[in-house]
Structures are given as structure tokens and as C-alpha cells.
Amino acid sequence: MRVMRILAAMSGGVDSSVVAAMLHADGHEVIGVTLQLYDHGAALGRKGACCAGQDIHDARRVADRIGIPHYVIDAEARFAADVMAPFAASYAAGETPVPCVRCNQSVKFRDLLTLADELGAAALATGHYVRRAEGPAGPELRRARDAARDQSWFLFATTRAQLARARFPLGDMPDKGAVRAMAARFGLAVADKPDSQDICFVPTGSYAETVRRHHPEALAPGEIVDAAGTVLGRHEGIARYTVGQGRRLGLNDGRVVVRIEPAARRVVVGPRAEGRRVVRLAEVNWLIDAPLAPSPASVKLRARDALRDAMIVADGADGALVTLSEPALPAPGQACVFYDGDRVLGGGFIRRDDA
């Protein structure tokens, strides 16, 4: 094994802590970095509290314990511009965003790899549950061994150049229990720390409040209508809905959201069976050579969705056209990720019909 200088992205959680400890134990020169993405004091509504949360403290203590240098990187401005603002704008546009993908795309893989360059670090390691394998045509992204923890859907936007320098040591772990056991063996105080929940920058759990700060109109009341335009009820903001959702409609008749019309602030409902087969994608990242003719693939339309059979084809400079074998209700703003077995072939963001 070649000993490298490696930048380890440490969130303060058990996963990335174990990554740093594993690489250090393997003899690499590990440099721990923690991104400060937002003001924790402000996010929790505590005036005067430190901008850094407990997670940054935990990451520093883990780095101390392992015996590696550790740095805190102020990514607040970058995160606000590249993740939070688009998150709110996406809801205001009637979409259902995936901020974790934006974060991986921007502050994590782009900015941290730039930092790795500045420091002469050969690789960037993260605690994602995903595997990277050397294939005949370069590095491949594969689903994690632990299917329940697999995070490949969130990493589809990792470019091939980024993947070449990324390391995901947890991809081969059998399950979370094994990671926790390893943390305990390394003597890390975070071994029993609970998993993080939901969206990191809305620790209070109310993402609607975050959206409201940027786009109050997305939380303004409006009508719930059927396809014919018949008003069935009222809602408290389009940001509270996603395509496919059956709750919060006051209907309880099996109908679900089939479309969100941001300009009219209308939530349109219809039968669940009334899905679509053709899905258009934007900002597509290919981890294979882009298929110019329709090719078979499995696709995943939401993080926790099942794989679906489809044909995929490149469409223009950074688009793709996906034809599902069975109709579905994809939500604009979510990712559609392409798989061949365990391997991630690429993916893109689901477009609105009017976009």
C-alpha cells in the first residue's frame, strides 16, 4: 500500500471519525478537516452561542485522540450561496430539492479537493457508505456493501475527476454496527453518538422556516385542485408538498399530488396511478461515456425508492431522457440516478415540465 497524505472530511459523527482513524492506522498522513457550514447558534435560535456546534467540538476531540492535525473550515458563505439559497429557491419553484447532493457537489468535493491540492494531499476521504472500484476505464462508483446504508444516490454528481481522488473506506463495511465497534476499538468517544437526522442545517426539524426566510411566497396559502381545476381545499404553502404525497391534502381518498404550479401557488392532485413514463433530467453527470442511443439501466427516483427499469439516453449538453418501463410520479428537483447492478452510471436532477 502506498502511504499518502489524505484529507479526511470529519463531520464529528461516528462514520467519518472511523474513516480518519482507519486511514491513520493504515499509516497514511491524515489531515482532518471539518466544514463549518452554518451558524449553529443562529440555527438553534441561541443568540450569542458559538457559531460552532457540538459536532465540530467532537471532530476536534476525535482528531486529538487519533493524533492527527485538524482544521475547521469556514464554508458558511459558500454553503449559504451554493446549498441553502438553491434549496429554498427550488421549493419556491415547486420542486423538492436534495440539498445533500448540492453540498457534496460544491463545498465537499469541489472545495475540499481544491484544498487538498493546496496542501499536496493525494486523496480526499469521506464517511459516505459507497464504494469506489478501479475499473478498466478508470474509477467506478458502486453501491455500498450495506444496502440499508448505501448513499450512492446522493453522490451521483461526483465527477470522474473527483472520483479519481475520492476514498470511501466505509463502503465495504457490513453494517453500522461494525463501524461503531471499530470506533469503540479506536477509543473514539463518538462510538455511541446517535446518527444525524434529516437536513443538517435545519436542526429544529422545520425546513419550512428555512424556506420562509428566503422565499416567503413558498409558504403562502393556496388552493388544492384536481386536474379539471376543481378546488378541493386549501394549503399553507407549496413548499409543504412534494409530488406523490398523499398527506396534508385533507382528502384521504387515495389521491396524491401529481403536480405543483408555483406561479398559481396551486397543488394539483390526481390518482396515484396517473404517473408518467418519460422523465427529463438536467445537470446530468455521467460516470460512463454518455449513451447516445437509448440504453437499459435501473433508475432510482428518490433516496429511499426502489430501483425501476428504464431506458436512458443523453439529451443535449448536460441533459438526459429517461423512459420508465412503468409509470411513476417523479418529483422535480429530486435526483434520478442510473445503475447497472451495483455500479452508478450517472444521474441528473428531475426537471419540471415548464422548465
Binding site: C50, C51, A52, P69, I73, L119
Partner: protein, 370 residues
């Protein structure tokens, strides 16, 4: 590791260490009546007399506190009551945070306080308390404090001076400055952490009120049993620093000059270079290179330097000092976040300076040092 971060904490002086170790062996509370108490009190009072003499104050008006921050806050809370507070734009957070509603005195592009603005501000209203630092922690720039003191006197304003970085490095005297209070800190002049002092003029002593009174220690100005050993180390380190001041200053100035010439040749700019500065401090702005990346690269290469404003989280924010000097306009957008501070300790070796120059050069050019 080569330590070039003396403005964060000065390299300990052996005289301070020795005095502290001797005092650590003693039992006794300086407030106690018995012999052990008297022995502890004697150490405390000798330290007080020593420090008062070194910094132009009166031992009867020298208050021991926990450090620079407390000294500044105590002065500002005590002397600011009923007064408008005017604070220099480049002051340390200890001062800025103590008076968040204070009027801010702008600085000139060289980092020195704008005396014309001070004069206007003093003319513009009721009694004032002015807070200025002698030497800036990030750039080493020296404010024209004696001139500011004359302006304050002419307008009946009080002047508090934060001398935390200057004490032990420059000749500092409360009386000669004509200030009303002066803050100093032990670990910034080679003593232990956890000790500081506030020196007061006669008038200021009459105005000062404690933040907490406790058992009435420090003549009622500051409650709590003092850290006797730290005070002994503080005074001994200060004596050593002041004794060797001239020679140290000349030696450090030559070392700094070598660093600055090398940095300039590599495309860096020196913030505050046009102003009189502390001999040990240089603030190197490297266009396009974020401060944290520079700190990390140098740290990993074994050099301890710092960037302007490290908060307790460890994150590095753009320097408010450089922003106040207008570097974002003069040196390019973002320049306030592209500076590192090199602050040479009193005992820096020529070889350390040469090694730093090689490492800095390697960082700038991207080549590993030979």
C-alpha cells in the same frame, strides 16, 4: 515545530518559570493573617510593585486580573459608565465586544487611528471614554496614543490603553502616555497564562467599579483569591523582557526584515508597513491564497503562525483589522481573508527565520523545500 506566533502567546521566559515554580511550592492565601498568608502576600505585592514600576503606574492602583480581556473589560465597564465610548476600528475583540454599541474610530490605510476623526468625535458631544491599543496584535501597527491622549485631555475624555501586545516589547508607561488606564497580560510577555493587570491613574482609580466584588480582594476592585504563582511568573517575565528590550527589538527587527524582503519578492504585501510597528510582527497578505490554506500548509510543514481572527471554533474569518484598513479595496477583494501573521518570539533563532522563509517560499511557489 518552529514557533512564530508570539502575539498569540509569547515564548515562556525562564525567569518567569523559575519564579513561578518557587511560588508554587508555597501554601497560603494572601488574604490570611498567619505567616503562610503573609508569605504569599509578600510575593503578590512584590509582583505588583515590580509591574507598576515597569509600566509607569502606582502599585496602589494596579489591579490583578485573569488576563488581557478581563483588564480591558474591567476598565471599560468601570470607566465607561455615563460616558460615550469610542473604540478604534482595529481593536481586539476583547475591547470591541465589551462595548458593542460604541462609536467606532476609523483608521488610516496604514492602520493608525485617524486623529482628525478622533478630534471630531470628541468635539461632538458629552464626556467620552476612548479605547485604543498601543500595538495591534495582527499587524503590529502602533497607534499614535500619546497624541490621542493629548486630544482626550483637551476634551475631558478618559483614555483606556490596551497595551497587551506592547508591554515587554516597547517602552510602555501609563504616566508618560497620559492615559487613565492600561491593560497588560502575562502570557503576552513570556509569563504564564491566567494573569493580567489593569493599571489606573489616580482619577480612574476613583471611578473604577468591580465587575464582581467577592471577598473584597484587590482593594475591592476584583474579588477572588489571586493565582500567586502566576503573578510571580508574570512579574519576573516582565522584568526580563523590559531588561532585554532594546537588544531583543534590534534582533527581531533584522529577522523580520529578512522575512518581509523574501515575502515581497514572492508577491506578498505587508499590511501596515507604512506605519511604525512592533519589531516582531509582520502581516503578510498573499493575493488569492486563503488564510486558512496558508496556515494549514505551514502548520503541516512544522511552522506555527496565525491568521487574523481565529474564533474559539478554530475557524478563520476575514480579519476585521485588515478590513478596517481598507485592504479589500487597495489590495483586491478578499485580501482581508488572505493574510497570515508572523510574530517572532523573543528568543527566535536566525535558523528558524531562514527555515520559515524556505517554507513560505515553498508554499507560495508550490515546490517542496529542498
Amino acid at each position: 515545530m518552529i514557533y512564530l506566533d508570539a502575539n498569540a502567546s509569547e515564548m515562556p521566559r525562564p525567569e518567569g518559570e523559575a519564579a513561578m515554580l518557587a511560588a508554587l511550592r508555597l501554601v497560603g492565601n494572601p488574604a490570611s493573617v498567619h505567616g503562610a498568608g503573609r508569605a504569599a502576600r509578600r510575593i503578590q505585592e512584590e509582583a505588583r510593585e515590580s509591574l507598576a514600576r515597569l509600566f509607569g503606574g502606582d502599585p496602589a492602583r494596579l489591579v490583578f486580573v485573569s488576563g488581557g480581556t478581563e483588564a480591558n473589560v474591567l476598565a471599560m465597564q468601570g470607566l465607561g459608565a455615563g460616558r460615550r465610548v469610542l473604540v478604534g476600528a482595529t481593536e481586539h475583540d476583547a475591547v470591541r465586544a465589551a462595548a458593542p454599541a460604541a462609536a467606532v474610530l476609523p483608521v488610516l490605510p496604514d492602520g493608525r487611528v485617524d486623529l482628525a476623526a478622533l478630534r471630531d468625535a470628541l468635539a461632538g458631544g458629552g464626556p467620552a471614554l476612548v479605547c485604543l491599543m498601543l500595538a495591534n496584535n495582527e499587524t503590529g501597527v502602533l497607534h499614535p496614543v500619546a497624541e490621542a491622549a493629548r486630544l482626550c485631555a483637551a476634551h475631558g475624555a478618559l483614555l483606556h490603553v490596551d497595551a497587551v501586545q506592547a508591554a515587554g516589547r516597547l517602552s510602555v508607561s501609563l504616566a508618560e502616555l497620559g492615559a487613565h488606564s492600561l491593560a497588560i497580560a502575562s502570557h503576552k510577555l513570556g509569563g504564564p497564562h491566567g494573569a493580567g493587570a489593569l493599571l489606573l491613574s489616580d482619577m480612574a482609580a476613583g471611578l473604577l467599579r468591580p465587575i464582581w466584588r467577592g471577598g473584597g480582594q484587590e482593594r475591592g476592585w476584583r474579588g477572588g483569591t489571586p493565582p500567586v504563582a502566576a503573578l510571580a511568573g508574570f512579574a519576573a517575565a516582565a522584568r526580563a523582557a523590559v531588561d532585554e528590550m532594546r537588544a531583543t527589538e534590534a534582533r527581531l527587527a533584522a529577522c523580520r526584515e529578512a522575512i518581509e524582503q523574501a515575502a515581497l519578492a514572492l508577491g506578498a504585501t505587508i499590511a501596515g508597513a507604512a506605519a511604525p510597528r512592533l519589531a516582531n510582527t509582520t502581516c503578510l497578505v498573499l493575493p488569492g491564497r486563503g488564510a486558512l490554506g496558508q496556515l494549514m500548509a505551514l502548520d503541516l510543514a512544522g511552522f506555527a503562525v496565525s491568521a487574523g481572527a481565529a474564533c474559539s471554533s478554530g475557524k478563520v474569518a476575514p480579519s476585521h483589522v485588515l478590513q478596517a484598513m481598507g485592504v479589500d479595496a487597495t489590495l483586491g477583494s478578499g485580501a482581508a481573508g488572505q493574510a497570515i501573521r508572523v510574530s517572532l518570539p523573543w528568543n527566535v533563532r536566525q535558523a528558524d527565520v531562514s527555515a520559515f522563509i524556505a517554507a513560505y517560499s515553498a508554499m507560495v511557489t508550490g515546490k517542496r523545500p529542498a
